[in-house]
């Protein structure tokens, strides 16, 4: 469990300016998409991040891959602070962190053949000699379970699952250390989801990859993650190993999320009733002062509205087995 830390996010914050912005206009307020998130990804492991739509998961993914500049906080890769890296250094840094995207229909350029798509990171980075390019691309296609003979085909000739495999091959092209997968299976049919998840696990096993795996579906993350972080409105509210998280969720929000997962055995679902949350997620433009979940929480008391609970009592890097929760009245405390 205590393998080396590969990627670390330290109090990451991303505020987007909100409102009119012209030549003269000034923005009036900020969308607090990610607000003080701490994360640790260990070598060869998978960090799952779950949360409902709009909780800042995708923003976090893009901050970690340096596609979006964080407002504050630090990203540390392999012991090196990469938050402010730019120019040539950033260009070569891109080799270490790659991304798999959510929508396999918009993540592949429709005008490029599969071969060009998979080769393009290598061309951009200038790392594969011309002659070997085709060989390397076909090797990658083989690796992700595509027919290498389909090298010259175009994305529109493939199904969603196959397109996602192309996206995975592209992410692998540069031999990255970390792959950030932003809901890689949520756009796919359930039967295809399992195939892609198996493929990702297989690749992790074979190539020693580390994943940051983002999903809005708890059951998807359960299979693949070594550690799961639950996000709500730009903050991590609970982080724990899946065995702990799924059997004994500490945060009321996690509990509510878990209770919403449909059960395969209808009789079992009678045993724990479903928790239906009242109201909507508060606006990230003006989030609540105290606990962000307080307004919808059935256990909320005065302190929840007044004071924001910190995540756990200790730094979660020291004792990752226990799991951490940001709640004044966690579920399993007596």
């Amino acid at each position: 469990m205590s393998s080396e830390i590969l990627l670390e996010g330290k109090s990451l914050v991303k505020y987007f300016p909100h409102g009119s912005k012209g030549i003269f206009g000034k923005s009036d307020g900020f969308v607090q998409a990610v607000d003080g998130v701490n994360l640790v990804l260990r070598k060869g492991q998978t960090l799952g991040i779950v949360g409902e739509s709009g909780c800042g998961k995708s923003t976090l993914a893009r901050v970690l891959t340096r596609l979006i500049e964080p407002t504050s906080g630090n990203i540390i890769l392999d012991g090196r602070d990469i938050t402010k890296v730019s120019g040539k250094e950033l260009q070569s840094l891109r080799r270490d962190i790659q991304m798999i995207f959510q929508d396999p229909f918009s993540s592949l350029n429709p005008r490029h053949s599969v071969g060009e798509i998979i080769a393009s990171p290598m061309r951009i980075q200038n790392i594969v000699p011309k002659g070997n390019e085709k060989l390397r691309v076909q090797e990658l296609m083989e690796l992700v379970g595509l027919n290498p003979e389909h090298y010259n085909r175009y994305p529109h000739e493939f199904s969603g699952g196959q397109r996602q495999r192309i996206g995975i091959a592209r992410a692998l092209a540069l031999n990255p250390k970390v792959i950030v997968a932003d809901e890689p299976v949520s756009a796919l049919d359930v039967s295809i989801q399992a195939q892609i998840l198996n493929l990702l696990e297989q690749l992790q096993h074979d190539l020693g990859l580390s994943y940051v795996f983002i999903a809005h579906d708890l059951s998807v993350v359960r299979h693949i993650a070594d550690e799961v972080a639950v996000m709500y409105l730009g903050k991590v509210v609970e982080i724990a190993r899946p065995e702990v998280l799924y059997s004994a969720p500490a945060h009321p929000y996690t509990k509510a999320l878990l209770s919403a997962v449909p059960s395969a055995t209808p009789r079992a679902s009678h045993m724990h009733s479903r928790i239906v949350l009242q109201g909507d997620v508060p606006s990230p433009i003006n989030p609540p002062v105290g606990c962000r979940f307080a307004a919808r929480c059935w256990k909320a008391q005065d302190i929840c509205v007044a004071q924001e609970p910190a995540l756990g009592s200790q730094s979660f890097t020291s004792q990752p087995e226990e799991g951490l929760v940001a709640c004044h009245f966690p579920e399993n405390s007596n």
Partner: protein
């Protein structure tokens, strides 16, 4: 590399089907559109005639400037029915001068198409560059270009074109552009381009704005792609389709505007021929010699219609939504 086990392998669904690029598919769709194909042949015909005008006229033994008084009667009108159509003058002669109408029509096509092509080229280049820059860079640059676009659109362009003809052609002549019709044509092309690029820029900007949010653009950025790669490899290949459609639809517009301007007396000056000049001239004789009005009018309608039909066909072929094969 280790083998991926069978469970993770996608079943192979393709046999020996030939792979087709999106461009190839569009071309095949276009070829199936009979009307559009005929229209493009008409366009091609006009272009060839215009390019080969001297040869064609020589072969037919006609000249746009030769006066043929014998074809006119005592009142200066064509000596015969339908503008004095004869073996010598296949489309009749011009009243007053007896110049061959077919020859003038052929040479007129040159002027119309030249103005059309050059204006379209200039507007497209300016529009695409500014549109992509605005859409891709966004922020302040976009705001400045967009306000400039609005400003240009707000100008009463036709009025300005007519009002500024004299000072600007004189200016051009002082810059060394040959006096007379070359200067006037240059003026028309420049001024049409000055006002025309905005339509291209707006469409290209919109397309770019939509495209840059697509995940493949992010994927390229995640691989470390620079601006050149973004614009030329990721964005441009995806906006060729709308650009081609704008070109094919705006070209007939410029042909018509050139005719309008010549008709209004801003364009070409006699004795050189252009369809607009011929139309303007023929109005004087529309009672005595309706055939003279008829010929350039029909030519203009046919060319503009052919361009439009071809443009519609191109749009249908290039718009993936119109392709039922790709659905499902």
């Amino acid at each position: 590399m280790s083998n991926t086990d069978l469970a993770t392998r996608e079943p192979q669904v393709f046999g020996a089907v030939e792979s087709k690029s999106p461009g190839r598919l569009a071309w095949e769709r276009f070829r199936r559109d009979r009307v559009a194909v005929i229209a493009s042949f008409v366009v091609l015909f006009f272009v060839c005639i215009a390019l080969l005008a001297p040869l064609v006229c020589k072969a037919l033994g006609i000249n746009p400037l030769t006066l043929d008084r014998k074809a006119l009667n005592d009142y200066g009108l064509p000596n015969g029915p339908f503008g004095a159509i004869s073996r010598k003058h296949l489309l009749g002669v011009e009243p007053g001068t007896g110049r061959d109408i077919l020859a003038r029509l052929i040479y007129g096509a040159r002027v119309s198409l030249l103005v059309g092509f050059v204006s379209t080229l200039l507007t497209t280049v300016i529009g695409v560059v500014l549109g992509i820059v605005a859409g891709y860079r966004r922020g302040k640059i976009d705001a400045i270009i967009s306000r400039f676009t609005d400003l240009t659109l707000a100008f009463p362009s036709l009025l300005l074109i007519i009002a500024l003809t004299r000072p600007f052609t004189q200016r051009l002549e002082s810059f060394g552009v040959p006096e007379g019709n070359p200067a006037r044509l240059t003026y028309i092309v420049l001024v049409l381009s000055l006002f025309g690029w905005v339509y291209v820029a707006r469409i290209v900007r919109g397309q770019t704005l939509a495209l840059r949010e697509r995940e493949f653009v992010e994927a390229a950025r995640a691989s470390g792609a620079g601006h050149w790669h973004m614009v030329f490899k990721e964005l441009l290949p995806n906006i060729w389709a709308p650009i081609i459609v704008i070109v094919s639809l705006s070209l007939p517009g410029y042909v018509a505007v050139e005719s309008t301007l010549s008709f209004l007396g801003v364009g070409l000056l006699p004795p050189d021929a252009s369809w607009g000049v011929m139309l303007g001239d023929s109005v004087k004789y529309y009672r005595a010699d309706p055939a003279y009005l008829f010929v350039p009018g029909v030519a203009l309608i046919v060319l503009v219609l052919a361009f439009n039909v071809m443009g519609d066909g191109l749009r249908d072929a290039l718009d993936p939504k119109s392709d039922r094969q790709q659905l499902g």
